[in-house]
């Protein structure tokens, strides 16, 4: 064996076969235009030239023993900082279909070494698991016997849901007669654009979403609302009539709230609701995190901080002594700020203790709902370990809470909203309606909207998922104008409208054969089934095979 002294082989040396994505490049098609290398968000590829020796038999002394060929090509970097993320932007810009990432079918050794400088893997995106229990739930209580089937296209359907505290009927009638306070309730579309902050999303993405939401409400008559996430809301939106489509979030960093408080006297309408974030499904126990390279001028202004600094929110609300107390105090404070005319509700991570929080809310007359975010939720930035392994799946968590409320006859009083993995494999209506029938009054979806409305490249196979470092190749989660100008807000708005039109039709297509059209079938657990006995027992639904 010949020693290869001059080739460095260190413990963390990798070849492209060790990386999660292997770039395949076809020299016979490449025009050497260089578009792929310039678009690559990770600088994972580079244009280079190589020399190839062409040995040949030499018969005459005047000839050289070997000939050489020089060729040009695209090569993949193998250090972790420049590893290919499989986003596929190179293929998207290549004029000749000469290049593209392929998932590594072999062992992915890079995973073992991705702890450089003692830092565990951090990323954006979602839990890297394609499994979805919700995808296995089917709707099988088809009205065949006594019903003329409903027609999704012809009959009238009421599919909206309620957000806000609903009084027990006797109490409602008493208060109405006595002229007392009735808690605010909003009638909204049950699929809600979940909280994504103005800092996490690019201005173009945010604008596109808002335009789309306004179009859904004002032109299509679908009362869609969207949540801001932590970090406030652009000042012009706070003072516009679009505020009524927006759920403002307050989280442990209170970012953006001085701007909101300043805008209060000038608001033309109330926001849809206030969401108090205590936890997030993707990273339970962590606060929000906006990395310094996303803290642009406008974000800094909005959040009231200097430009270019990391903005971690504390894991808990600092003013609190216990969650019960905090929930109570904050709900009251927020309600008071809007004169008890805006529903206020907490968002928590899916957890075995969700029921305890819920029972606390039942006793709090100002609590407007509970949003539970399951382990499959997404985020702009988190540790891989949090995203992949901490949290609670949404289905059983929600079901437990619903049954607990039902046992007390209070399932109509505190609406439960579910999030985390709705539409993770593209089946958004199916997943959402399954959750509704398990007891949710509605669902929040974030990643799905990014994928459907803006073409986010992320996937549960760890494709892309670099939303945390400001290099989003689609311009969705970047504050760099060079990147976000790729995203046309009008095109996003159009996709939002198309997406909600499609969801609206699919909701009807699910409800019609079940014989339901008058109200959203919340808790209609007799309508659903699953092909797994244990899951069926746990969810108290029918097992089918």
């Amino acid at each position: 064996m010949v020693p290869i002294r001059n080739i460095a082989v260190a413990p963390s040396s990798l070849t492209y076969h060790d990386l999660p994505w292997v770039v395949q490049h076809r020299e016979d098609r490449c025009t050497l235009c260089g578009r792929c290398t310039s678009v690559c968000p990770k600088e994972a590829i580079y244009l280079t030239y190589r020399r190839q020796r062409l040995p040949k038999m030499v018969l005459q002394a005047s000839e050289r023993g070997s000939a050489y060929r020089t060729f040009y090509g695209i090569r993949q970097r193998t250090d972790l900082a420049h590893r290919c993320i499989g986003c596929g932007m190179c293929s998207m810009v290549c004029p000749n279909e000469a290049i593209g990432p392929h998932p590594n079918a072999n062992d992915e050794r890079a995973r073992f070494l991705d702890t450089e400088k003692g830092e565990p893997i951090k990323r954006g995106g979602r839990r890297n698991s394609r499994e979805s229990l919700l995808d296995r739930i089917i709707f099988n209580r088809i009205s065949m016997l006594t019903d003329p089937a409903l027609d999704a296209g012809r009959h009238e359907f009421s599919v909206n849901t309620l957000l806000g505290r609903v009084l027990p009927p006797e109490e409602y009638i008493r208060r109405k007669a006595a002229g007392e306070w009735i808690p605010p309730v909003r009638e909204i579309f049950p699929f809600i654009i979940g909280s994504m902050s103005f800092g996490a999303l690019s201005p173009n993405m945010w604008l596109g979403l808002l335009q789309g939401v306004a179009y859904c409400n004002e032109v299509l008559g679908i009362p869609v609302v969207m949540a801001t996430g932590e970090g406030g809301c652009p000042p012009w939106v706070l003072r516009s009539k679009f505020l009524k489509y927006i759920i403002l979030q307050i989280a442990s960093g209170y970012f953006g709230w001085d701007e909101i408080i300043r805008a209060l006297p000038e608001m033309q309408c109330d926001p849809a609701a206030i969401e108090i974030k205590y936890g997030q499904g993707a990273k339970p126990g962590d606060g929000g995190l906006l990395m310094w390279f996303k803290v642009s001028k406008i974000i800094a202004r909005l959040r009231g901080v200097p430009e270019g600094v990391d903005l971690p929110s504390p894991p808990v609300h600092q003013t609190l002594y216990s969650i019960e107390e905090s929930v109570m105090k904050m709900i009251q404070t927020m309600s008071m700020a809007w004169n008890f005319k805006v529903p206020v509700y907490p968002k928590i991570s899916g957890s075995t203790s969700a029921k305890a929080v819920l029972n606390n809310l039942v006793r709090n007359p100002y609590a407007g709902a509970l949003l539970i975010d399951g382990i499959d939720g997404g985020t702009g930035a988190a540790y891989n370990i949090s995203m992949d392994a901490t949290g609670h799946p949404i289905a059983s968590n929600l079901r437990e809470c619903y049954l607990d409320l039902a046992a007390q006859g209070k399932q109509n009083e505190i609406p439960l909203f579910a999030a985390g993995g709705v539409g993770k494999n593209g089946n958004v209506t199916r997943n959402g309606m399954a959750l509704v029938m398990l007891g949710a009054s509605g669902v929040h979806m974030g990643k799905y909207m990014m994928q459907a409305a803006a073409g986010c490249l992320g996937s549960e196979r760890n494709r892309c998922n670099v939303c945390n470092i400001g290099v989003c190749p689609k311009g969705i989660t970047s504050q760099n104008p060079k990147l976000y100008r790729r995203l046309d807000p009008d095109a996003v708005a159009q996709r939002v409208a198309e997406t909600f039109m499609a969801i609206n039709t699919e909701v009807k297509k699910i409800m019609a054969p079940l014989g339901r059209s008058q109200s959203l079938p919340i808790g209609m657990s007799d309508a659903i089934a699953i092909d797994d006995q244990a899951a069926a027992d746990r969810l108290k639904i029918r097992y089918v095979c």
């Binding site: 006594t146 409903l150 039902a406 007390q408 079938p521």
Partner: protein, 380 residues
């Protein structure tokens, strides 16, 4: 599809006439059950005083009848009259019918102290206690109603055959209101408690069609932990309990029932004179929204009769009659059979927004639309 017939008249009439109406509509049911509710009952053999409660049901064994006697004695009820049906058991499909009972009791002396409300509560609790007793003994005792002037009969079989088997043609029993349902067995097994009409505290309703929103409604009613919000062998029992909840718990007028089970749309309510109240009511009672196709017919303790349709009006119903005598039926031929000599041009088919009410004086039928103002104290 089940068939429904209801007749109300100032003069008591034989329930058999309503059974003949069922016969006229017979293509609509499969003989899997008949349910009858008689109200304003009079006996040929007994001078009944209308404040005494009547217990109706079936004892399937001698032993269960003994237990029934014992339970009623223990509670302090005194048996005043035990109606003896001229039964021909050979005509009855089921073989475990020991005795169809229809008994008049005198309430315990101690009840004198009770307010009307308390007494009514006790009647309900007694019925429930008897029912539960039957259920804990393998279903050997079935109790349908316990209320003044009301009796119920439920049996498996063709309506006319059941009527004949129980000798209903003999004219010994007459009533001012009779409700009958011929059942088409659907998704639940044949169980006497699953036969319509359903009864709670003097309120009885029956339905045809399927209540697709049954499970969420049932779950909500069960969550109220009301002692008589139980059973639900049929998805239609919730209609009776919702009516009970509307009238007795919410103390709303009868016309509000429709606003609870089939509320108007938000856009419609925004135009409604009481839109604000009704929108809040719809939200508060959201779990009670039914999702027909259904036609619901009912009667109240004061002999008021009503019929409402589901929101999509997916079931037929005809109301016909004349002052003093009215009939509702799911088919026009049913009304013809009950009141043949009426002015047919005045027949009315309720639509999605209507509640047809025949008040106790039976002078005229009232058609109330959801778009009209509700007679509410709150509206003042």
């Amino acid at each position: 599809m089940c068939r429904l017939a209801l007749k109300t008249a100032a003069e008591p009439f034989s329930p058999y006439s309503v059974l003949t109406a069922m016969e006229a509509m017979q293509e609509g049911y499969d003989g899997s059950g008949l349910g009858l509710l008689l109200r304003g009952l009079t006996f040929a053999d007994y001078r009944y005083s209308p404040e005494d409660p009547i217990l109706s049901g079936i004892a399937h064994t001698e032993e269960s009848l003994d237990r029934l006697n014992e339970l009623m004695r223990a509670k302090g009820f005194e048996l005043k009259y035990d109606h003896d049906f001229t039964v021909d058991l050979r005509e009855i499909e089921a073989k475990d019918r020991h005795k169809y009972f229809l008994r008049v009791y005198k309430v315990p002396v101690a009840w004198k102290e009770y307010s009307r409300e308390q007494a009514e509560e006790q009647l309900m609790l007694t019925r429930v206690a008897l029912r539960l007793d039957g259920e804990t003994h393998g279903g050997d005792l079935t109790v349908f109603s316990f209320w003044p002037e009301v009796a119920m009969i439920k049996e498996v079989g063709w309506p006319l055959a059941v009527g004949n088997a129980l000798g209903l043609q003999d004219g010994r029993l007459k009533a001012r209101v009779v409700m009958a349902q011929g059942r088409q067995n659907t998704n639940y097994g044949i169980n006497l408690y699953a036969c319509h009409p359903f009864f709670i505290q003097g309120i009885g309703t029956m339905t045809n069609g399927e209540n697709t929103a049954f499970v969420p409604i049932r779950d909500w009613l069960l969550g109220q932990h009301h002692p008589a919000y139980i059973g639900y062998q049929s998805d239609s029992e919730v209609f009776t309990h919702i009516l009970h909840y509307t009238l007795r718990k919410l103390k709303l007028p009868l016309a509000a029932y429709k606003h609870i089970i089939t509320p108007l749309k938000t856009e419609e309510l925004q135009q409604h004179p009481q839109g604000d109240f009704l929108l809040g009511l719809r939200n508060a009672c959201r779990r009670l929204i039914i999702d027909g196709p259904n036609c619901v017919m009912g009667t109240l303790p004061d002999e008021t009769c009503l019929v409402v349709m589901d929101h999509k009006k997916m079931r037929p119903c005809t109301v016909g009659g004349r002052p003093g005598e009215w009939a509702f039926a799911s088919e026009m031929c049913g009304v013809d059979a009950m009141i043949p000599d009426r002015d047919r041009s005045l027949d009315f088919q309720p639509m999605r927004q209507h509640t047809v009410i025949i008040p106790p004086d039976r002078k005229e039928r009232q058609i109330w639309s959801q778009f009209e103002t509700l007679p509410l104290p709150q509206a003042a």
